[in-house]
């Protein structure tokens, strides 16, 4: 187990920023930390990296307790803090070599070249970090986090403020990293979790409200399976209500209907058979999928 968090609590004065949370992250897994602003995502990450001390509970990284063996634990963590702080007056290469020096990476020049290439910074390596666009700065931030080849990567909102193309590229890079490492990333962009993560933890007001693989998360919180249908002809509402398994019928106007059934039932075959039987034209038939967005809203309201 690469990251083990047990009964972690963090109090600021009287406020519980993180309230008794426990979770684990495995190697080869991208874990998404999801939650509204101020939910405790960043605080949790700061504790894992050893920046902030916890009020109670413990955190283990690669088998090292972050308070008892801080140096060993920090050595196997790569960290990209929120807002990606960088030395703007340093050159890209200079900064990465400095980072390599701190971590005592063997063959620093070679390793820096490797990282520069991998993050797509080759054409910018001789530039001042201050001259770079936000997307390239983010790559520098990722490069410094990965430089010492840590087993665990903690990325706090790695795609915030990037344009759509940059987001796609950074996500691809993270996904690639996730195959060999443990990646924990926080975000409030829900699509990101769906696109990148294998598993999501949803935090609200310092507490974990959900911890499951993405697919399961969706299934778990879909209360009903909903189907939208449009017929070519007028249909009596009562007729639709008599269909097997239909729990609810709602008119969407102009022969459009929304039918609800229990979560594990699919109404589409039933409706299709019904249309054939009644000689109706089926113009539209599709199943609504509850998005992570809706799950998120339900859980954190």
């Amino acid at each position: 187990m690469s990251v083990k968090v047990r009964n972690l609590t963090k109090n600021y004065d009287t406020q519980h920023a993180v309230d008794d949370i426990s979770f684990e992250a495995r190697k080869g897994e991208v874990l998404g930390f999801l939650g509204p602003n101020g939910a405790g995502k960043t605080t949790t990450m700061k504790i894992i990296t050893g920046y902030l001390p916890q009020s109670a509970g413990n955190v283990e990284v690669c088998g090292f307790d972050v308070t008892a063996q801080p140096m060993e634990a920090r050595a196997c963590v790569g960290y990209l803090p929120e807002h990606n702080p960088l030395y703007k007056d340093m050159y890209v290469r200079e900064y990465l070599e400095f980072t390599a020096g701190i971590h005592r990476v063997p063959n620093p020049r070679q390793r820096v070249d490797e990282m520069v290439e991998r993050t797509g910074l080759t054409s910018h390596r001789q530039k001042h970090i201050g001259e770079l666009s936000k997307g390239y700065r983010q790559r520098v931030g990722l490069a410094q986090a990965m430089l010492h080849d840590p087993q665990v990567l903690i990325l706090d909102e790695p795609t915030s403020g990037l344009d759509p193309n940059q987001i796609v590229e950074i996500r691809r890079l993270i996904k690639e990293l996730g195959r060999e490492k443990t990646v924990i990333l926080s975000t409030h962009i829900l699509g990101e979790v769906e696109a990148v993560c294998d598993r999501a933890i949803i935090i609200n007001k310092g507490k974990i409200v959900a911890d499951a693989p993405i697919a399961e998360l969706k299934r778990q919180f879909t209360g009903q399976s909903i189907v939208t249908v449009e017929f070519g002809e007028r249909v009596d509402k009562k007729l639709l209500e008599t269909l097997p398994q239909v729990q609810q019928v709602k008119s969407l106007g102009a022969n459009r209907w929304q039918l609800a059934a229990a979560a594990d039932h699919d109404l589409r075959p039933v409706i299709s058979a019904f249309a054939t039987k009644q000689g109706l034209t089926l113009l539209e038939l599709h199943k609504e999928v509850l998005s992570v967005e809706e799950v998120f809203q339900q859980l954190t309201r």
């Binding site: 702080p85 960088l86 701190i102």
Partner: protein, 243 residues
């Protein structure tokens, strides 16, 4: 510590800060030593370097805080401190790296003044008639004084994320530790009774004592502990997020 040391040194010399500090110091020192008639060696009748050793601390009073003000304040302002303290290095290594880098810059500024020694040496009548031991002692004293000022400056910088606040508080603290105790000791309540104790808390007393060319272990211990106290305070201040 090495990586941080070299990073800081590079920052001084890849930006204008390093050159400005050395430039200002040498211009001021040159003016005082050779041009201003009131202080100039050429106008005085003695071949000595007292002018340098009495003026250098005054210049350091504002120049060293200018060197040290960005060490931590800037990192806290930009947030890079968060990355730095989560690296597998101790807070002592971070503080040490920055301290030695600033001290090195001050030494670079002092280095060219060794030329003054050569000049004054040749001005003496007969040539070479000067107190070399005293000068060596003074240089060592000046280095210790610079180290204390740098430690104070680094500490002041670790207290705030505002560089101007860091500069002003460092300048004030340096002045306080350097001269205020000496001045206070002349108050009637201390005078003639405990004035030497009050005096000996300040830097001036120990600096003057070293300038005489006598390397007293008490002075050395004083400077080393003063520096260590402020470096330890910096480490404490850096760890205050954990309180």
């Amino acid at each position: 510590m090495r990586a941080i040391y070299f990073k800081e040194i590079n920052a001084f010399f890849s930006s204008i800060i390093g050159y400005i500090v050395i430039g200002i110091f040498l211009v001021l020192m040159g003016l005082v030593m050779w041009v201003f008639p009131e202080y100039s060696v050429l106008e005085g009748n003695f071949a000595n370097m007292d002018t340098l050793f009495s003026m250098a601390p005054q210049i350091f009073l504002f120049l060293i805080p200018a060197v040290t003000m960005r060490t931590f304040a800037e990192e806290m302002q930009t947030g890079t401190i968060e990355l730095l303290v989560t690296r597998p290095i101790s807070d002592w290594q971070i503080v040490g790296g920055k301290f030695f880098a600033c001290l090195t810059l001050v030494m670079f500024a002092l280095l060219p003044t060794l030329l003054y020694y050569v000049t004054v040496y040749n001005l003496g009548a007969p040539t070479g008639n000067l107190d070399s031991g005293g000068i060596l002692g003074s240089y060592i004293g000046l280095l210790f004084l610079a180290a204390s000022f740098v430690a104070i400056g680094v500490f002041a910088s670790s207290l705030t994320n505002n560089q101007i606040v860091a500069f002003l508080s460092a300048a004030f603290l340096c002045f306080f530790v350097f001269q205020v105790f000496d001045l206070l000791s002349r108050l009637p309540i201390f005078f003639g009774k405990t004035d030497d104790i009050v005096q000996s808390i300040g830097i001036q007393y120990h600096y003057d004592s070293m300038s005489r060319g006598v390397l007293d272990s008490r002075d050395v211990i004083y400077f080393l502990s003063l520096t260590a106290v402020f470096l330890a305070a910096t480490v404490l201040s850096l760890g205050r997020r954990r309180w």
